[in-house]
């Protein structure tokens, strides 16, 4: 097990090199650099700016300089928000996106899993059809529609919850629900499908035959076996969580990472974009790693070596 973990962590190094190289080439391939802002500037001022950020050097040399800097634990300074360091922005904004994402994930699991289990247990009943219709509709409706309806009902009409902002507990429910509900639809459908597969297995018949109550059989035997595909889905959702939500963050004025990253890409803020990409690559890697580890716990037959 320890050897497995060390091997996986060492595998990060080629991933970092690969990701940073591809990302570096791609961000520089986008037409227009960080200082093509359209503002009037003297030629000398442009040269000075390019020099300060090493952009007057050949691309390969820039890459080496960048990697050297990263190896020293410095992701560099933003080229647009010139007073800010990349790591300060990630440190400042990631917790917000992660909090929102975790809350949204909780919403989607708390709503989606029970709905999927009920649906599977009452297969082809009117309840199943209703739940699945709602789940499909929920997944098809974009999250900003939920956001607007929630704002309208809970914020503007009932004055129960704040319309936006971030910092107090009461700021969390509306954006978390708006972000989590479409996923809940997906989770419900996935849960139902895996549950149905498990319910048709021989071990279920055995479970009923030995006198287990239907509920105990459902939860202990069917659900646990249905967890494997579900966990994979949750890992994918977790990746979605950390990338933040541009639209939800925008509507609710949440100072997360999603909006900032899009702005960085559009503004050709090379250092900031690269910093985000490296950060994401690492986080997604960790999420997948944790999921792989959890398989062993869910299904003891799976051995990690």
């Amino acid at each position: 097990m320890a050897a497995y973990i060390i091997r996986r962590i060492l595998a990060l190094i080629p991933i970092w090199i690969g990701v940073s190289f591809i990302a570096f080439v791609l961000v520089h391939a986008i037409p227009g650099g960080p200082f093509d802002t359209g503002a009037i500037r003297s030629r000398q001022a442009t040269e000075n700016l390019l020099h300060v950020y090493h952009l007057d050097k050949p691309l390969f040399e820039q890459y080496i300089l960048y990697i050297w800097q990263v190896l020293h634990g410095d992701l560099g300074q933003s080229m647009v928000n010139r007073g800010l360091s990349v790591s300060a922005v990630i440190k400042g904004r990631f917790p917000t996106s992660a909090e929102l994402g975790a809350a949204a994930l909780a919403v989607s699991l708390c709503v989606g899993i029970p709905a999927g289990i009920i649906s599977a247990a009452r297969r082809n009943s009117w309840l199943d059809h209703l739940v699945m219709f709602t789940a499909t509709a929920g997944y098809a409706i974009p999250n900003f529609v939920f956001a607007l309806v929630l704002i309208l009902v809970f914020g503007l009409s009932l004055h129960l919850l704040p319309l936006g902002g971030w910092g107090t507990l009461s700021d969390v429910p509306l954006p978390a629900i708006a972000l989590g509900l479409p996923w809940a639809g997906l989770v419900a459908r996935m849960t139902r499908a895996s549950m149905l597969e498990a319910l048709n297995r021989d071990y279920m018949r055995t479970a009923y035959a030995k006198g287990l109550s239907p509920f105990a059989a459902l939860m202990r035997h069917a659900f646990r076996n249905a967890l494997i595909p579900l966990t994979t889905l949750v890992a994918l959702l977790a990746a979605e969580v950390i990338t933040g939500s541009l639209i939800i963050e925008n509507i609710f004025g949440i100072p997360g990472i999603g909006h900032y990253m899009v702005d960085s890409i559009l503004g050709a803020d090379y250092t900031m974009t690269l910093g985000f990409i490296m950060f994401y690559a690492t986080t997604i890697f960790i999420a997948n790693f944790l999921v792989d580890l959890s398989y062993g716990w869910i299904d003891p037959r799976i051995r990690l070596a």
């Binding site: 359209g38 000398q44 936006g164």
Partner: protein
């Protein structure tokens, strides 16, 4: 996204919204709460160059002079100034009672240090060109000298600036950010990152005291401000990217004012009588136009340029593009700017028959034989996003000319425009003045060979008029010369000037003195809240 915002607008307009009265709370705290759509780039006057930063930092720093809301240059840290040496020497006399927010007194040498810092290559100031008319400035920006020979403290409170050539616009230039005075002692302690909250290195009435990430900024009043004690105790600025969400929270009492509303938010305002009464708009020193390659076919023909000018209904366009918040354009320089002819010259009439006739005279009856032309534009500015399909339709309908639309990301568009070999012959452009002097737009975008003269317009008469206006120190004469250059440009139909956009804002009735000047948001010094 746009659909989402429009939907939010729709929902909000149909909902009966009871505005919560946060009135007494805001007034009692003495803190003005405003919202902006994007975070500022920097709080270092020598580094910042975006409007968001300027609008905030102008309350924390001062220059030798300032530009008032009527666009006149007025005293600031300098109480007076004299011009001598044939318009090349400016001698500024500083007030003796000005102190930085940290208590350090302001002396002439502080300006010398700040000018040299703004010019230094290591600072990499994007706007160092504001100071490059100073003798020796060029050598500093190139790294060949540490100090510019043209700026000297000739007494504790006397600053002498020598220019390389006479420049009547110079006082207007030193009112801008690269010339704002910063305490050199604070900078020396941490030259790379001194511009953090609580540095108190400026002289202005509202230093930045606190920042939460890059989304919340608190400015606290400086009771020792040389211009008098501010009436507000402070200002809280929240960054909220969605203008429609900002309006909703303004309605619920979270904010006292919202600035720069987008078209979707303006539609929300228009459908609500309370909001409508609190809505304000004012012309901005900005022009939106379509540029045509002056020396390239098909636009190297005056009749073609005139035909295009007559084929677009500017009033209808403004409703599509800016929710009605703009003025139809005639002259290239925006109205209100000395030298602009926009106030007296009528726009090219919307006259499809005449347009068709002109195009026919140019050799393209009903648009036949007109070469394939694409209109390039960027959606980065957002303000005229919906306008382009309208323009495409008008040219198709009225001239029989088919134009392709080429939207581009802002930085890619700007890079393309800067490269003469890639530059398109037909493009949309917008320019807002950094300082209220026609010299900027005419010299950097207008005259032959200017770096941003993307039309490639070249006319010795035009160049001569602009150059003599730039050199004169007589402001009335300068305005007349620029006006003559504008007339020439208009008659030659060099540009299709579409409109001059307004700046817009919402403010609660208990806030007084808040608003926008033609260049930027008004400073907060005159703002007060009713109890």
């Amino acid at each position: 996204m746009i659909v989402g915002l429009a939907l939010l607008g729709l929902l909000m307009s149909t909902a009966a919204v009871a505005s919560v009265a946060h009135h007494s709370k805001a007034a009692a705290s003495g803190v003005l709460r405003i919202v902006v759509t994007q975070p500022p780039d920097s709080f270092d006057p020598a580094v910042l160059s975006d409007n968001r930063s300027i609008e905030l930092a102008q309350n924390a720093f001062d220059g030798l002079v300032d530009v008032n809301n009527q666009m006149k240059v007025v005293p600031a840290v300098a109480s007076s100034w004299k011009v001598s040496g044939g318009g090349k020497v400016y001698t500024f006399t500083l007030r003796q009672n000005v102190r930085f927010q940290n208590g350090d007194p302001v002396v002439a040498q502080d300006f010398v240090d700040e000018f040299n810092r703004a010019l230094a290559p290591a600072t990499a100031s994007p706007d160092s060109f504001f100071l490059t008319d100073i003798a020796g400035a060029d050598a500093v920006t190139k790294g060949k000298a540490k100090t510019a020979s043209g700026v000297k403290a000739i007494g504790k409170y006397t600053l002498r600036v020598t220019l390389t050539h006479p420049a009547g616009y110079f006082p207007s230039l030193v009112s801008r950010w690269p010339a704002w005075v910063v305490d050199p002692k604070v900078v020396a302690k941490n030259p790379k990152n001194w511009a953090v909250p609580g540095n108190n290195a400026g002289t202005g009435p509202f230093p930045l005291s606190k920042a939460v990430g890059d989304t919340q900024f608190t400015f606290t009043a400086n009771p020792n401000y040389f211009g008098g004690k501010p009436k507000l105790r402070g200002v809280q600025v929240t960054v909220l990217p969605s203008s429609a969400a900002a309006v909703a929270r303004y309605q619920s009492g979270d904010f006292d004012a919202v600035v720069n509303l987008d078209a979707a938010a303006i539609q929300v305002v228009n459908s609500n009588s309370t909001l409508k009464a609190q809505f304000h708009s004012k012309p901005l020193l900005r022009t939106v136009w379509l540029g045509m390659g002056y020396d390239k076919p098909p636009f190297n023909n005056l009749k073609v340029r005139q035909a295009f000018n007559h084929a677009i209904d500017r009033t209808a366009l403004i409703n599509v593009a800016a929710a009605g918040q703009a003025t139809p354009g005639s002259g290239w320089l925006p109205p209100g700017l000395p030298g602009s002819i926009a106030g007296t010259q009528k726009p090219y009439s919307y006259d499809p028959a005449l347009a068709k006739q002109l195009l026919s005279q140019a050799g393209y009856p009903n648009g036949q034989g007109f070469p394939a032309v694409d209109l390039y534009y960027t959606l980065g500015t957002g303000e005229y996003e919906q306008a382009f399909e309208f323009i495409q339709n008008q040219l198709q309908q009225n001239l029989g000319v088919t134009i392709g639309l080429k939207p581009m990301p802002a930085n890619g568009f700007n890079a393309m425009m800067g490269n003469a070999s890639q530059r398109p012959v037909f493009y949309a452009y917008s320019f807002g003045l950094d300082y209220p002097d026609a010299q900027e737009q005419t010299t950097y975008l207008g005259i032959t060979g200017a770096g941003y003269n993307f039309e490639n317009y070249s006319n010795p008469k035009y160049d001569a008029l602009v150059n003599s206006a730039n050199a004169s120190a007589n402001q009335a004469k300068r305005a007349a010369l620029y006006a003559a250059s504008e007339k020439l440009r208009y008659n030659q139909a060099v540009d299709i000037v579409l409109y001059y956009p307004n700046t817009t804002w919402l403010v609660k009735p208990y806030v007084h003195g808040f608003g926008e000047s033609p260049l930027y948001t008004k400073k907060w010094i005159g703002v007060s809240l009713t109890k």
